[in-house]
Every structure is written in C-alpha cells, then in structure tokens.
Symmetry: C2
Subunit: 334 residues, 2 copies
Amino acid sequence: MDKSTIIDVAKLANTSKSTVSRYLNGYKVKKETKEALDRAIRELNYHPNANARRLVKNNTQVIGIVVDDIANIFYADILRGIESVLNSYGYRCAYYSRTSNYQGEFGFMDLANEGEVDGLILVSFLKRSQEMLDEVKKLAIPIVLIGDADYDSGVFSVDVNNELGISELVHYLYRIGHRNIAYINGPEHFSASYWRKKGYENTLKELGLSYKESWIIDSDWTKAGGHKAMSELLAFKDITAVVSSNDEMAIGALLYASELGFHVPRDLSIVGFDDTEVSKWVYPPLTTVKQPLHPMGEKAATGLIAKLKGEQDIQEQRILIDPKLVVRQSCRNL
Amino acid sequence: MDKSTIIDVAKLANTSKSTVSRYLNGYKVKKETKEALDRAIRELNYHPNANARRLVKNNTQVIGIVVDDIANIFYADILRGIESVLNSYGYRCAYYSRTSNYQGEFGFMDLANEGEVDGLILVSFLKRSQEMLDEVKKLAIPIVLIGDADYDSGVFSVDVNNELGISELVHYLYRIGHRNIAYINGPEHFSASYWRKKGYENTLKELGLSYKESWIIDSDWTKAGGHKAMSELLAFKDITAVVSSNDEMAIGALLYASELGFHVPRDLSIVGFDDTEVSKWVYPPLTTVKQPLHPMGEKAATGLIAKLKGEQDIQEQRILIDPKLVVRQSCRNL
DNA sequence: ATGAAAGCGCTAACAG
DNA sequence: CTGTTAGCGCTTTCAT
C-alpha cells in the first residue's frame, strides 16, 4: 500500500484537495464535508507530507539547536529554558551535535542555508573565531548564540557574567578574612576561562591583594585536573584559599587536600564555579556560584523569536546575566 | 535579495536546470559548463533547497533520535555509539526531546509519518506500554528501540542485560563471604528496576541465601533516595552488604553511612550499577557494573541500517548486551 | 553531454 | 463555503 496523499483523501470524500487542505489547516468546512473528510483520513491512514508543505510555505516551524557534544551537556538547564519559550510560540526543537559533524565548525551552515530549520541557536562555550562569526552574519535565517562571543561580534549572544561571578567569590573570601588566594584556571580554548581569570586578577588588584603568577595553575576543567593542580598549590604554605574556575576541578582539589590529610575548610578554603548538582553532595558541601542556566536559555530563545518576527528593535547585542553566590561549607572565616 | 534557485543558476551559466541538478549530484558535465556553473553558484550564493529535494526524492538522509529528556541524558555514550555508525553510512542525526512534547508519549509519531526523517531510534528506559508498541509497528518508517521492551514486543530492541548485571554483583559479594545482602530498588516505572530486582531475588534463591522482604527498599534513583534508603537499612544489624540498583543511590547510601560514623567497607559493603563517572571518585571508590553503552548504541544503529536497506533477515529481535563487573574498594572480604 | 517536460504533495490566490 | 489553477524548487525520464 502506497502512502496516500491529499488527492486520495479528496476523491474518497468527494471534494477537492483545496478543501482538504483548508480543513487540515483549521478553516471552516460544511459539517457533512467534515465528516466525510474525517472518515476518509482515517480510512486511508492519511498523514500530510511535511516536506511538501515546507516547500510551499517556505518555513518549517522547527528551530535547530546546535550543541558541541550532545553526549556531554554540562549546562542542561539552558536547553530547558530554550524549549520552554520556543514551544510556547509553536516551534519544535531539533538538536544537532557538532561532534558528529565531520565538516567541523561550519557543519551547521547547511541547516541554515537549505531550509531545514527556521532559526538556529548555537550553544558552545568554546572560543569562537571571528571568521566563523562573520559567516554567521551572512546566513539566510535568524541566529543567536549562547556562550560568549568574545569580540564585539555583531551577533546576538547571551552568556553568564563570568567575570562578575569570580569577582563575587573573591570578594566573599576577602570579607571572611582571606588575603592569599590562589586560582585554578580552565583551558584556554574556552571563552569562560578568559573572563573568569580576568575576574580573578582584576578583583585582586581592586582589593589591593598581592598578585603572584605562580599561584595561578592552568588546568582542564576535570576532577583529575583539579587534583593535580592542588598538588602543585600545596607547595605554597601561605595560601589560605583556592578559587577554582569550575566545580569539577574544585572537587578534585578538595579530594587531593583530603587525601593529604588537610581538612577543608579548617586548613584550607576552596570555592568553585557552576553550582553543579554534585557540589552540594561532596564533603564539605562546596561554596560556589550558580549559573543562571534557565534564564540564559530563555533570553536566547526570546531573542530568536523577536528576530523571527522581524522586530526591528532587537539589536545584535551581547547579553550577560549575573550569577549568584551560593555559600556552603567549604570556606573558613579567618 | 531573494534566495536564488536552481533556475537562476542555470540562466546565469547559460544552461538548463537539469544540467545544474546533475552537476550538483555528481554527474559529469563538460569542463566549460562546470566552470560556468561554479562561477554562477558562487556569485548567486546558491544553496539547494532541502525541502524540494526531499519532496521529490522522498527521503531525507536524517535519522531521528528521540530521547526522554535532552537535558538529562544519563547514558550519553549510547548516543556516541549511534552517531558513529549512522554517520559512517551517510546519515545525519537529529535529536528530539520527548519532554518538550505536549503530545505525550506519541508525540514523535509525526516525525515518522510526515517524512521528516528516514528512520527513528527511540531511547527510553521507562516502561513502554503495549499500546505504544503496537503503534510503533504501524509506522511508515523503520524504527528500533533502546531500552527494553519488557514484552515480546515484536520490535527490534537493545538493552543491557540488567538481570545478569545484578546477578554478577551478588555472586561477587557471595564469593567474598557475604550472606546477608540488602537491596535498594529503583522506581517502578523504569523497565530496568524490574529486571534488576529480579536478578537480585533469583540469585539469592540460586545461592540458597535467606530472602527478606524488609531488606528491599524502594527508592528513586537519586542520591537523596539512596541516603534515605540507607537510613532504613541501618536498622538491620545483620546486613553486611547493600546492593544498590544504581550508582547514584549507592553514593547516597555511602554518604549516609559515613555521616553516621560507619566505615565503608570495614563496617559495611556497598555496590552500585552503571559505572558512572563519579563512582570512581567517591570515597571509597565504588564497586559496580559497567553498562556497555557504546555497543548498545552501535547495535541499535546497525539494526536500523539493516532495516533501511530492506534486509529481510533482520528479525524483530530483543538484544541484551552483557555488562561487566568493575571491582573497586567499597566491599570487604569477610 | 544536455534540454524539455512532467511531477513530487501541498498551499493560496481567484472566481464563483 | 468550495473548486480550479498556478506554482514552491527540485529530480528524472525521454529525447536529441
């Protein structure tokens, strides 16, 4: 049995395909035709062909969400934020994983140019090249970015205010008496690493604290990395607190300190960044900074909707959302 | 500037749209036409319209992967397994989240019926209703399932052998001298809960161990749940080991025991299931069972490819892959 | 190697 | 409220 079309339905219901089409799209038809149509549709097990409809309407009602690695979504709540607003406007979300895309950084371009989606949200926390940003501006459909465009990119983007987050952490440590504060840095190819480190350095200066290059350890976001970083930091006896630029490394650091018999926070204070789920389960529960993930997703989606509607006043702006300090028990009041 | 079509390209290159189409699809054209075509395509910034092509070719070269919740992917490596084989056959993957789908359990049906994808992989560890399974069999395109179809469903499905996994855990505990073994159960609406519990009960009987209803605590997969379950279990003084049906709850249990001053594994042995990343980072590192996630994804994708090719010998079978015991330090040799 | 023409399944004027 | 008609942008015979 071949798939049935709108014409088959029309014939069986003794009417024309225009009427079928109208009925399917919510227009009024005479009661008898409606009944005949319903019967025909059921009998033929008819389903409209999305590709034909998309061709003529020149839209799809689906938004593409491109993520770095579908199997490694750190910031899941961003996606929930996106879905919640996009769905409320009648759009569906289709997710695509960049890792799978042999074409590299530009692999999603086809999606945008070939009419597979009506709009695109690119979610990535890797640094974006200016070259790629330029390409984005040329695309045929509206696009917004989540994860910072380091530059004044001219593309609508939203991110957490990384610099502010670290700054609050350092201020907090300062308030409770810490003066010698070390830092564990994230990998260079992440935009967040740049801004968080900047937050650390600037806040130190602002507070008039001594600034030592050797107290900054470059690492890789992982527990293993934080573990190792801490082993280097423990050589410096005057350090009383460590700011880790994410929770994972903070936990690795915590673990290393414990293994060596140091008690956190008695002997050493440690803070992280992200407020991941585990951060409240480690011992001691980690003081950190909560990323506004859901709002980030919402803001991005809202911006995209505005573009889709062709609103003129939606500028290509860079939106930074403030994170929130979460005080738990990994710091000692000196 | 309107989007250019294949006709614009043809005109500019002084040829016909058939020739453009052929060229785009890899057929040979005269050298001069090729050059003219390349020039025209670049000049017009031409991109083929995927919807038009899909309409006439009646396929899309994309496979839909439907997951329960895109923002909560426990079993990420399954997706990597899927992508690796699907990509090698020239298919792209598009992911859809069922949570977002107000239409509930049947929300993905449109994808299958309206020609948006060529095939579907449904990834879910929730119990599936027979009703839904029946619907699946009627769909217009090939479908495979990941996560068990409890019944003899008549649909190609792959899952880990949950029963065997728990059985190996219990056997291991038995070998190192444990006789009084409690169990923390997962929530009822997950297929895995049923099979794992069955593995616990059957292995106990098989080994001639005493079986007590009160040593089985129903919980919810979460750390908090495991935490609470352990608080109930600690009332039974003769228990020497606890099998948790997943790692999360095992870690919650571990934490509770520690908080009460019990030392694991000296005072109590605990094992989990999954081999999640954290399980090797908790103290003590958790003995558990490793799910063959990547292979599960590969098997499912391979099955789908076979169906897509119309291979007759690909039966609608239920494939169960064996998990692997991972011994770490959360158990004491009695 | 190329062009003409038909058609994929649907929507949207237009005329009634 | 309904039918007729003309496309949407592309692929694919069938000729040449």
